[in-house]
Symmetry: D2
Subunit: 309 residues, 4 copies
């Protein structure tokens, strides 16, 4: 017998009522309620340190680079010269890290409602933020992102929406509505683009919210470009949607060589997951998913919001 017992402490997350994933738990760093949501900082065997909001894993040290590079880099690559960037949410500081990696970025405004969560991430997730909270280009505010966008006079080249899934009692469901996208559009500089995380994108769960978010972005922007990536700690592929102006070349057709050239000019060889070929793979969606995106008719609005399972 091994003197040390096999794994006895676990973090369990329900994917839906009939499915859950459990991972070995090393440490409960923090567990509590903020003004807006339940927050846990856990350290697990397979994934290292993780942020869990209202019982849902937001990102983990082991694979956050997959999620955050996929969220940030494609939309940055699709813009010729992104200098002013806005992040809604992004409490871990890793989305900011990906933006600030670009030396041409002059100003990053990040609005995350929940200061407590951000402070906890600042303290406990150094590998996530990698010092991005100290970057002088960052302007960090704690208020409602929708209210902020509706009242600001700033213009942004890129808007990145990195907030939790739309939960019925969660703080973020309004940030998936047509009304929110209207506010985003009004703050975009000419040629500006938006990207939003869009929930699960696998064969069995892509119609939960992904297709509806895509449909709503498509109704709100001249062009909508869906894509997805597999994130192990989510147990599924994960969807994203870019809202883009007219007149651009189709984003999925953005040449792999062009992506690699722009990456080389802007961030050097610092990424682990994303590059030109990866870009091609992100946007080349399987048939069932393309069909489901086409068939979707749900429009998410303030009066008809959509909640994640």
């Amino acid at each position: 017998m091994d003197a040390s017992p096999s794994q006895t402490t676990w973090h369990t997350e329900y994917i839906n009522a009939n499915m859950f994933m459990s991972v070995g738990l090393r440490q409960i760093i923090h567990s509590g309620q903020t003004r807006y949501q339940h927050v846990q900082l856990l350290e697990t065997e397979p994934f290292g340190r993780s942020l869990v909001l209202d019982g849902r894993t937001q990102s983990t040290e082991a694979d956050e680079y997959v999620y955050h590079e996929a969220l940030v880099q494609p939309v940055m690559m699709a813009h010729a010269n992104p200098r002013h960037v806005f992040i809604a949410g992004g409490g871990e500081g890793a989305t900011a890290r990906e933006v600030l990696r670009h030396s041409f970025v002059e100003r990053l405004t990040m609005v995350d409602l929940d200061q407590e969560v951000v402070e906890l991430c600042k303290q406990h997730l150094p590998l996530h933020h990698a010092g991005s909270f100290d970057d002088p280009r960052l302007n960090l505010l704690h208020e409602d992102a929708l209210a902020y966008l509706e009242s600001t006079h700033d213009q942004f080249d890129i808007v990145i929406v990195d907030v939790p899934d739309p939960l019925e009692a969660g703080p973020a469901y309004m940030l998936y509505t047509e009304e929110f996208y209207a506010a985003v559009r009004s703050c975009l500089a000419p040629g500006g683009l938006m990207v939003t995380q869009s929930g699960p994108g696998g064969p069995l769960n892509h119609t939960e919210v992904f297709t509806a978010i895509h449909h709503t972005v498509a109704a709100s922007f001249p062009r909508a470009h869906p894509y997805r990536v597999f994130v192990p700690s989510f147990g599924t592929t994960w969807g994203f949607v870019i809202g883009a102006p007219a007149g651009e070349p189709e984003l999925p057709e953005l040449n792999a060589a062009t992506v690699d050239l722009r990456l080389s000019n802007r961030v050097g060889n610092t990424l682990r997951h994303y590059d030109g070929i990866t870009h091609t793979g992100l946007f080349a969606l399987p048939k069932y998913l393309r069909l489901a995106l086409d068939a979707e008719t749900r429009l998410i609005t303030k009066s008809a919001p959509l909640y994640a399972v």
Copy 2:
């Protein structure tokens, strides 16, 4: 209170010592030991009927189309005119189904060691095999695939390896060795190709066996083309490797339009997952995976076999 209780019966599968997935269990259709392995036929809430060998899910009704189309169709598309096909394993009959979908196929030889498993699948997995066991083109044998290939005088256009992961006590570990690939090569007709399922291919588990299988195929064939797809019931993306002759155009560059044209000619619009754009996505691997494939040096041989975790 809801009159019906929440899910109380579960199927649990360890992904590794620190991670497991549980799915609601509707029925244990069969559970027992054959001469070669432990076999379970389960019916689960999220995935329907599933074949589980030695505790590992092989395929499920809900997403087997993703796995089996990805296993079979790319290699079929890469061949100009595949008429004689060989399957090692494939007990559920779904791999045969994908092959027999091609009207140009004249003869399919399927060698699955474990007759008991095949009989159970024939009886309990009708949605998997869809009648393929009754196709007159099928020649089904129950013996060791390696011994068969070493002794046969047949030549095949396509060889498909669809056997369980290489487990230490499992029946299939020899079918991932250099010696096996030599036997395959000797049975390939000119221009013939092989594809093998190659184990998990996600960010955290791609070096378990995928990269080593690719390295061994690359050492055994003029060209090796790795690809991967996300399969929900496996909880991860899954790897495949094609072994191809020299002189072919690079398989990943097979044009999406060409794929769609060939599909249209050969199988019509009968697939759910695979088509030209899907093909592009399957082969456009993320950066970390391409780097790991390049860096791999393990060669799997009879005297130095590799076992899955």
Copy 3:
């Protein structure tokens, strides 16, 4: 590696929101909804065949003798000559089996609301009922036990209440009220006694329902005698309460030798769990439990029912 994988199919039962027990699952014999409740017939590794109603294990082959002997035999022993017996519930037929073991019993009336459950038990739980459904002394009815007792003119020496815990939407909560005990009393022959299963009785859960049921029985009968026994498949000790007439010797003081003599005369040496010394142990309650029983003030009534956790 062992050719057969370790346990992968499980039955899970929540004891409360923060605690559950999982046992290896061999077979799901039946799972469905009757007119009154959700019913499962499971076969588990540690416990054999089990009846589960609304997600709660009622009894299992491996340890039902502990529960059913403890439910039936003490109250039978406390009566000098029990000839007419009534069972409310008892669908498995094992409570009837324990009663019918007594050759002096002339008539057993069993009223179980849910005919479907009884039929399933008859078919699938032969080790539970052991043929008791075929005993000519048994009069089996499917109606509401409270309504039956309120309208019958029969008189019973012993009334045994063997129904599920009082769940908010369950069929049985009325059978734990003062009104029900009044109906029972009106049907008891002189010297007659009642016993009811009374929910968990362990150090951490005895105040869920046990103490309140005891308090209500004590308010309804001249004497109330609580006792408890450990039942492995419940994961806890389990409570029972006897309601007895005045003038009897204190039941807990029923001499072990007297119990053994009566057992010998009435049922021979056929029991596995219960005898004179066991009887002494059942009624010798630990200090914390006696204090809690004394301190309880909740009276369960039709207008103020009590629901199990």
Copy 4:
């Protein structure tokens, strides 16, 4: 929706290969390897702070009083005047607490091999030890209990064995052998008694080690008195065996009134679980258990040790 998610962090303990219990986990206070064993200090929802050695819960704040009073008080009551007491193990300090509660006790020698575990308990389990480590009557040593007893010239009125179950690679299996009991006997003052915790004692697990430990104690002492109590955090009743000299009145017959009188004289009304009636219940074993104790023939020796499941 409740703002706080349901329980997501769990401590899981296998009772055997086909059965486990999971409890909500609040905090991992410590987890590591000492020189002798794996040690965890956990805080769980249902049980508060717990000591877990080699993956097995030793005791928890919520119910340790049941275990420790049952371990210590009966053997103390059975002795007319226990002044010198020895504890093997007992790292939490709660066994010492129960002994030191007796004002007549003059000297308590406690030998626990693993100083690291004791230091962790001293720091993190204040409700367990309740200051007993600071009692001037305590002589705490860290060495092998068997070696100590074989070499000491001290004589004890009471020896209490409170060490983990006999695990194959664990530190304690020798303390359940005939050789150990011989060493104990040689250190007992005239009229002295020993008690040992003896593993699970429920209907399905009493023959794992309980009956064999009882048989070995019975072979080593003039009299052996087995008893058991239900401990919720163990998920089962738990066995104990007292080894007693000849000429004593049978311990199970120790009158409840005598127990209460002695308790009153020695410790006042300070206990929560144990008193005269509780004593009667502890020793009044169910029929199946008495039969199994009688039928047992395994003798545990140095050359034929016994390991827990």
